[in-house]
Amino acid sequence: MASSLSPECTPLKTSYDVCFNSWFEGYLEPAVSALQTADRAAYAKANAEEYELKCGKIWQEYKACVHKAIKDNGLEPVLQQAREEHPLATPPSSSEHRKA
């Protein structure tokens, strides 16, 4: 796994990555083949809950560490600005152009 931007967050990051990758691999195949919309929504909901259950705690710990590292490295202002310019709450459409 790659390191974190702050060495003290790297162990938390590694634990979180392992948890997420394992959940993600289990999630993907059946999600791809859940063709019925009703199945898909139920499956998505169940898996979102499973993700929270399995990885929720380690995620909170890692997230707290990395957000502090972002502050300490002076990245918060540029990150905030980038989020305002391109919130990207939903996937960009193919025809969308970036803001100048």
Partner: protein, 180 residues
């Protein structure tokens, strides 16, 4: 404004490619990427779409005039937003530079979609533009350098990711991975 685009086919199913995405770094062919952090992640309980926001830390030698003029340093940070939609088998990754963002913008969009049962289409586009009304030769010089760096890293990224996918595939089949 400089544009860049490339497309490519990976000889792996879409799900294998998206699993491999999270394992791309660290990578001996992309030593410029030194840190990767997830700053936000959510799973939409209705659509099943996974949204991930990451910050990647890169170290690259910048020409001295760029460092002097723009106060840049070797450290460059990038913000990446990734959407994985298992229902439609679409992955979209948008990246933009955080460092030197007041001077120039490098906005990249990558898409992975299945082209067949066992192949995945990859498309990548980038728009690189100096932002402020800098004097023209400096703006041009900065754009050119960013573009060269981008193209170089894009080529490295492609071969590096091909290696990762192959190794992952062999690991899953229980065969030892070939030496890189």
């Amino acid at each position: 404004m400089h544009f860049f685009s490339q497309s490519f086919q990976y000889d792996h199913p879409w799900s294998h490619v998206v699993i491999g995405m999270w394992r791309k770094y660290p990578n001996p062919k992309c030593t410029h990427v030194v840190s990767v952090d997830v700053v936000d992640r959510s799973v939409d309980p209705q659509t099943g779409i996974i949204r991930t926001e990451r910050i990647l830390g890169c170290k690259q030698k910048a020409p001295r005039w760029i460092v002097k003029l723009f106060g840049g340093s070797e450290d460059a940070f990038v913000r990446e937003i990734c959407f994985v939609d298992p229902a439609t088998q679409n992955t979209t990754i948008t990246s933009v530079n955080l460092s030197l963002s007041q001077f120039a913008s490098c906005y990249e969009v990558v898409r992975y979609t299945p082209s067949s049962h066992n192949r995945t289409a990859f498309t990548q586009t980038a728009e690189i533009q100096a932002r402020m009304a800098l004097w023209r030769s400096a703006a041009d010089g900065l754009e050119k350098w960013l573009c060269q760096r981008f193209e170089q890293n894009a080529q490295l990224g492609k071969t590096a990711f091909t290696d990762v996918l192959r190794a992952l595939s062999e690991e899953r089949l229980g065969r030892p991975a070939m030496a890189a």
